[in-house]
């Protein structure tokens, strides 16, 4: 399982995240977990909804951008968040993602709310291979 941390020294009013994964699948899953943690306390979400998401992009970094943007989109359109996911990234330009999402509705009576992300920014946006896996930096506008 990958790891994430929120960076404080970047973009004061927003939320910068650094995400690490042992491979791309792990990094994308961990990024989704970090985003869910930003929005809610995952322990207060009933995991009653399963979804499949497929995406395609010209480059890996754009696939990560689209992946997180999709999760923010679902948060607004369906008022659902997905703390758990199983992701498979394949291909080399274009690259494809297939994800099985597990989460649930944002329930005002049950869910402990965090921030309401507006968008993924390109500010200092990066996805790169490192020793032992991959690392990404993402600033979320909140």
């Amino acid at each position: 399982m990958g790891a994430y941390r929120f960076l404080e020294e970047v973009a004061l009013a927003d939320c910068a995240m650094e995400i690490e994964g042992r491979d791309l699948d792990d990094l994308f899953e961990t990024a989704a977990q970090a985003l869910a943690r930003l929005m809610v306390d995952p322990a207060t979400v009933a995991l009653t909804v399963e979804r499949t998401v497929t995406l395609e992009a010209a480059r890996l970094d754009l696939l990560l951008y689209d992946w997180l943007s999709e999760l923010i989109f679902l948060k607004d359109r369906d008022r659902e968040v997905f703390p758990q996911s199983r992701v498979r990234v394949t291909g080399e330009g274009p690259v494809r993602l297939t994800a099985e999402l597990r989460g649930g509705p944002i329930d005002p009576d049950r869910t402990a709310l965090g921030a309401d992300p507006k968008a993924v920014t390109f500010h200092q946006f990066a996805l790169e291979p490192v020793d032992g896996g991959w690392r990404a930096r993402v600033v979320i506008d909140i």
Binding site: V10, V40, L62, P108, L113, G114, A119, F122, H123
Partner: protein, 489 residues
């Protein structure tokens, strides 16, 4: 951030509270960067401000200077508090100079009520407002839109709401651009943006968005004549202020076009120092498509603040048992602080059409300007500066000097000095709520951690920001407003 530290040293004073970074500071700068701040505020600005404002100075077609207001802080792309004008015929438009929350803005509503009348019913009032104006992540608004109606909102803005009975005709007179920016084109709005925003009309959002009950304290009126024109009668009077924008609809439009511009910039031979500054020539096919979608989002934000105003009137009417008109709940003004607008300004003696980007910055047109409501034209356009939920906000008016100095622009708030995580480390949300309650400020919030993030100590001193605006002449202070109740996302 060594580059930014170097730039900070190179920011030299060129006037009272005006600092300039010359174009030689960074390769690719077409114009200087100008920061409006006292020495103390300049010292508080994080390194990102200097990095970002000089990046903006590198964008194609920028005119005169990249500007940063005294509430400036590190954002993404532009600094928050950033202002830049580009030639419409040879410059660019950049979503990163507007923000994802297109037409995030402020509205202030006067009342004929006094604190003595409101204080005994304050908790009831705040609870009712919290129920009537949904806030926080996952909130759903009370207006049920069809696709056809949503497209009308995009084109007609606040006017659509008034036509549906969500407001008074005179509300439009007191809204920037009469609550409807020209150029909106639903054809350039994605189905995703519509799906994302369809259920959110009438919601507040989260982060620093709020709905606040405020009072005028003794000694808080700085310009009695202008205050009277705005409907400020004296100490003890109650006001309602709201801060919100275009919600998921605008956020998705920003996302869609940032992604598009990132792709197509090479086609136009444009390179930027920060991908978040992705842009397109204003007159290009893509630039015009964003312009149409961006104005649609701006109009949806006006509509959002208008239907929230309707809810506020309903709640006051119910709590105080009188009609909203009888309670004097009239809109003083509504201003955008995340937009690009097509404006004509004097450049080297010529009247030039410019695309003026204001990101976390407010338009501040001076007395006599044609887009200032007739009843305010002698004092200038009202400017609403939102402070923190603990310390208060301010009403100012625009000046003739701002027209020549900053394209008629001024600050938008106090500006953060501390990260959200640091604020949460310093205080628990629950603790802060109790402390504020003990000081007479009743708060209802969708997210307790969000309350801690918005603590007063996380922001600059609002008075210091307003004093700089007044000293430099970018706007003139009229009245300070103190919170007694707050709804937060």
């Amino acid at each position: 951030m060594r580059i930014a530290d170097t730039l900070r040293i190179e920011a030299r004073p060129v006037g009272d509270c005006i600092w300039e970074i010359p174009p030689t500071a960074k390769p690719g700068m077409h114009v200087p960067a100008r920061i409006y701040a006292s020495e103390a505020l300049l010292a508080q600005m994080d390194a990102g401000v200097f990095e970002q404002v000089t990046n903006v100075a590198c964008l194609p077609g920028i005119v005169r200077a990249a500007l940063c207001m005294p509430d400036g802080h590190w954002g993404y792309g532009f600094p928050i508090g950033g202002v830049a004008a580009f030639r419409a015929d040879a410059g660019v438009i950049s979503p990163g100079g507007i923000g994802f929350d297109i037409n995030c803005g402020m509205r202030v509503i006067r009342t004929g009520l006094t604190e003595d009348e409101v204080r005994p019913r304050l908790r009831e009032l705040i609870d009712a407002l919290f129920g009537a104006v949904p806030s926080g992540v996952g909130a759903k608004g009370f207006v049920h839109l069809t696709d056809v109606a949503f497209r009308k909102v995009m084109v007609e803005g606040a006017g659509w709401c008034v036509a549906q009975g969500y407001g008074w005709p005179e509300d439009l007179e007191h809204t920037e651009g009469r609550g409807c920016l020209p150029g909106a084109d639903p054809a350039h709005v994605s189905a995703r943006a519509m799906a994302r925003g369809m259920n959110q009309l009438g919601t507040l959002g989260s982060g620093n968005h709020y709905l606040e009950i405020q009072v005028v304290r003794p000694g808080a009126i700085h310009d009695a004549r202008a205050a009277k024109v705005l409907g400020v009668e004296g100490p003890g009077q109650i006001f309602v202020m709201l801060h919100c924008g275009s919600r998921g609809f605008g956020h998705q439009i920003g996302t869609d076009y940032l992604r598009l511009f990132d792709d197509i910039m090479p086609r136009y031979g444009i390179a930027v120092r920060d991908r978040e500054l992705a842009c397109a020539p204003f007159r290009s096919k893509e630039g015009q498509a964003y312009w149409g979608a961006m104005n649609a989002a701006a109009n949806s934000a006006f509509a959002n603040r208008q239907v929230i105003t309707h809810r506020v009137r309903e709640v006051f009417s119910k709590v105080f048992g009188k009609d909203a008109r009888e309670l004097g709940l009239s809109v003083i003004y509504d201003v955008c602080h995340n937009t690009a607008k097509l404006e004509r300004h004097a450049v080297d003696g010529a009247d030039v059409e410019l695309v003026v980007h204001r990101k976390g910055a407010t338009r501040a047109f001076g007395p006599g300007a044609s887009d200032v409501p007739a009843d305010y034209r002698e004092i200038g356009q009202p400017v609403i500066i939102g402070g923190s939920m603990e310390t208060g906000s301010a009403l100012l008016v625009g000046t003739a000097h701002a027209m020549t100095e900053t394209w008629g622009s001024t600050a938008h708030g106090a500006g953060r000095t501390m990260s959200r995580a640091e604020a949460k480390r310093r205080v628990w949300g629950e603790t802060l709520l109790k402390e504020m309650d003990a000081r007479g400020i009743v708060v209802r919030a969708a997210s307790k951690s969000g309350v801690a993030e918005e603590a007063g100590f996380a922001y600059k001193d609002l008075d210091a920001v307003v004093d700089v605006l007044d000293r430099v002449g970018l706007s003139r202070k009229v009245v300070s407003l103190t919170p007694i109740g707050n709804i937060k996302g």
